[in-house]
Amino acid sequence: AALKDGLRSQVSAALKEGRVTPTELCQRCLALIKSTKFLNAYITVAEETALKQAEESEERYKRGQPLGILDGIPVAVKDNFNTAGIETTCASNMLKGYISPYNATVVQKLLDHGAVLLGKTNLDEFAMGSGSTDGVFGPVRNPWSYSKQYKEKSVPKSHSEDEESNWVITGGSSGGSAAAVSSFTCFAALGSDTGGSTRNPAAHCGVVGLKPTYGLISRHGLIPLVNSMDVPGILTRCVDDAAVLLGSLAGHDPKDSTTIQDDFKPFELPNLTDVSKLSIGIPKEYHAPGLSSEILALWSKAADLFKNAGAKVVEVSLPHTRYSIVCYHVLCTAEVASNMARFDGLEYGHRSDVKDSTESMYAATRREGFNDVVRGRILSGNYFLLKQNYEKYFVKAQKVRRLIANDFEKVFRSGVDVLLTPTTLSDAAPYTEFIQEDNRTRSAQDDILTQAANMAGLPAINVPTALSERGLPVGLQFIGRSFQEKQLLTVAKWFEKQVQFPVIQLEEVKRHDYGVFQHQKSASFS
């Protein structure tokens, strides 16, 4: 099952007691990254700097002065966060070769806490997508494709054909980060979440994916997609670890004026035993068309779990849910049209050889640098922002956004503490099946359950719940009140403890002797 309190009570303790050193930890992770290269989870592996950071951490431990729980912990960062001296590509030709001159605030915070930055993870180009299949470095493979659990359940064709054609997607767009955490190549990873990009791959890869409240964590250095919805996301193997990461990352940043100024106090999660005072809301609109019967059953079972434990479980309504994805489509493309305007080849990034005029150079650079998905969104966004369309589409969408946010507010005001919903419509699809539909269609389908939380700016978390019939992870989502991460995570942690999600059984991991950090659990939820 998920390592309960993995970072705090297991890894950090082991480092403090000298049972393992930061350098050993780093080397093991680097070796595992190499042997799981076929997952394509990493775009850049910063081996030299990581080992240097590990050595520095080791010195601190020797002096008995570690910086905290994260000191010496190998982490990975999605490749749309700026990392000083390390290439940041956003999985796009537009930024190939771009070496960031600065660290994103969240990256700096991780480093200040002594974390060891292993590398940059793969994603959909510019975080646009729900499969991590549309980046220039190729798709990310879900580690569960290679798990004993999945292989046992798949119908074998020929042995070699099986592995090559049967692999499933990670979900997206933070697929690389999710795969990295899921395959044990790092202990935590940063993703980003604009429409579900952290929670979706977390669900498909069987890891915890936290989307914090908008305004809690700095976006400075996160290459923006939708400024009014983007947040840095946290991917870990257990809820306690997510709380540790949150504690080191949250708080006002003078460099990001959309971060709230209130003091943030890092917290440890209590071990909730009495849920009788809890009110769980089940939004009926989240029984969306296309929701697999398996996930529906799991969701229902989860609701019963809370009910039987004494919590108040009520059906609620968020009437504008079905418009969330349409609203997102308009607002996202509009903001993308604006945000992508900075890529003109002049100051950084790809530059075309065309030199007849500034405009033709810009146009050629953008044609060469962006993939179809990005270009499509830019054009759509510009359409919705045209003078004749501005009121009709952009302002209209902003009004619908308010209605969506109001839906949530109304439900929380009625006494509901936390909402429980599915995270995805089904378990991970095989890659060959996923690419049959285009990116926009897929995103519209896959973001349906996660998008509204971004619209309203609310915190939400995916908790791995059970394995599907196909042996793949399925997660459930909790949505909380604004800035009430402690309550949200406390509930999530209680749930995580009840379901005892199984550990992935990967050959590569076994070979690298992760015994000290794994334990098998006998009971399971499904």
Partner: protein, 109 residues
């Protein structure tokens, strides 16, 4: 209704991104169709929402103190074409290909 060729050309000019082919145009048509669902929602009397943090007014103006800068070298490092401390751009004020040329292209594909 279909988007006119004038609007398509106008969009390409604004976005400095081309539709490339009929598929690109079709993609836009589908996107508009999708967005049209918004009109099913009654938003009479509803104010547009710019930011979820509107109640927690956090957009403040800070003091006009220079706290960072002097990073010319770093800023120039990622530029491909530069001369001394200048970014070099091709000549400006030259308009892109005319509408007629574009129209021929779009009709042909």
């Amino acid at each position: 209704q279909k988007v006119s060729v004038e609007v398509l050309a106008h969009l390409e000019h604004l976005a400095l991104v081309d539709f490339r082919d009929a598929e690109g145009v079709e993609r836009l048509q589908k996107a508009i169709q999708f967005a049209d669902q918004l009109h099913e929602v009654n938003t009479v009397g509803v104010e547009p929402m710019d930011s979820v943090l509107e109640d927690r007014w956090c957009l403040y103006l800070r003091e006009d103190d220079v706290t960072e800068g002097n990073c010319t070298k770093e800023l120039l490092e990622n530029a491909r074409e530069k001369v001394e401390e200048y970014f070099v751009a091709p000549p400006g004020n030259i308009p892109l290909p005319k509408l007629e040329e574009q129209e021929a292209f779009l009709q042909g594909s």
